[in-house]
């Protein structure tokens, strides 16, 4: 997508947030069509060069892209969460050794080598960030959304977690501890959200359908 005018606020957010907060003049993640065309050209040349010199095969690149576009994404994490909700023994294994428990469902690998699952409870609300780069549990959530990689999120969620949560429409009572996890090492964190009320009758697959990515990062609660 491209935006000719970078500060068009034509987006239609389902939540309210501080539109009067100052925009960072240095950060503009969106590119015009012309800028993207230049980048397309440059990357195509780079790819051709690396193929020609024998460092990479085109079909291997295609396979990596396919994997991250279709196989890895929040639907994997949602399956982990739903299983934990319906199977107390799995949940116990998940909280004790998340890497092994997640592997039971067939997920693991790059950027998920060392997993820890943190559970939301009536006393604790967990939220995950990487302030230094954008570390994220790829095997269970896929590649991170742009906002997770943004200076806005990385700078603020550690110092003003409740303010950031509010921008996602999430209010956490003062009596509840907001616990921010800054992924500064190779440990990757997944939030186990609280099971929404009124879902006792639902099976594992239906439950997985309720689990949103943002709840597994911790910026939202499930309704």
């Amino acid at each position: 997508m491209s935006h000719d005018h970078p500060h068009d606020h034509d987006h239609d957010h389902g939540h309210s947030h501080a539109h009067d907060a100052p925009q960072n003049p240095y950060v503009e993640p969106r590119r015009t069509a012309e800028e993207n065309a230049v980048l397309e050209q440059r990357v195509e040349e780079l790819e051709e060069l690396l193929i020609e010199k024998g460092y990479v095969a085109k079909e291997t690149l295609d396979e990596i892209v396919r994997t991250y576009e279709t196989d890895l994404g929040p639907m994997n994490g949602a399956r982990v969460v739903a299983r934990a909700w319906v199977d107390p023994e799995f949940k116990a294994r998940l909280l004790a050794d998340a890497t092994a428990a997640i592997a039971e469902l067939g997920f693991g690998g790059l950027q998920g080598e060392h997993m820890v699952v943190v559970e939301n409870t009536p006393e604790v609300h967990n939220v995950v960030v990487c302030t230094l780069c954008s570390c994220y549990p790829w095997p269970v959530l896929g590649l991170p959304p742009t906002w997770y990689k943004s200076p806005e999120y990385r700078s603020r969620v550690v110092i003003d977690p409740r303010g950031v949560l509010k921008e996602f429409g999430t209010t956490v009572d003062e009596s509840v501890e907001v616990r921010v996890w800054d992924s500064s090492a190779e440990i990757r964190y997944l939030v186990l959200p609280e099971r929404p009320p009124g879902t006792d009758e639902l099976g594992e697959e239906e439950l997985a359908g309720l689990v949103e990515r943002d709840a597994m990062i911790g910026v939202k609660k499930l309704q």
């Binding site: 997508m1 957010h13 539109h19 907060a21 100052p22 925009q23 240095y26 950060v27 969106r30 980048l39 397309e40 440059r42 990357v43 780079l46 790819e47 690396l50 010199k53 024998g54 460092y55 990479v56 095969a57 291997t60 690149l61 295609d62 396979e63 990596i64 892209v65 576009e69 994404g73 790059l110 080598e113 060392h114 820890v116 302030t131 230094l132 780069c133 896929g142 590649l143 742009t146 906002w147 990689k149 943004s150 806005e152 990385r154 700078s155 550690v158 110092i159 977690p161 950031v164 996602f168 003062e174 501890e177 616990r179 921010v180 800054d182 992924s183 500064s184 090492a185 190779e186 943002d214």
Partner: protein
Amino acid sequence: MNGVHDMGGMHGFGPVEPEPGEPVFHARWEARVLGLTIAVGKLFGNIDARRHMIERLPPADYLQFSYYEKWLARLMSSLPEEPANERPMSPSEMTAVVRSGRPTLREGGREPRYCVGDRVAARDLNTEGHTRLTRYVRGRPGVIARLHGSHVFPDTNAQGLGENAQPLYTVKFRARDLWGPEAAERDTVCIDLWEDYLEAR
């Protein structure tokens, strides 16, 4: 290094703006940069050396570049001139790498100096090299919350000075110990810190 990438606690970036229905990639080139980085990243060294390459981008570029533009800058900065001396990975070999990952946990290593519950402080270190010791915890008191075993130490690994695997801990800090009395009383920040970043309190 005390770089612009170390953003925790900075002000002035404005509100977080999620993009509804965001695609995995916004343009084809982003997908190809991801693929190239995974496929040939080792040309630029280990993960810590590669992160340090991003951190050393000129600060104005770091702030202006999108995520994949930073990755592209890294790819462009050290292209090999010689042809490869082995055949490239096949799709199935690559899939095996993606599936198994590159664990940083190491057997052996030194005995952990701290136990869960111990009071520690993050040391006030200011290396110009790569480090994962964020500025906002330096000098602040915290409590050991979890031990993760011995992991490769980024500070030495990034510079080719060895893995120096050592105990890695989750350290829990009270928000008020990091940000002062304005922070909510109960709130906490948990961050993973290697033993060399810590001292007893």
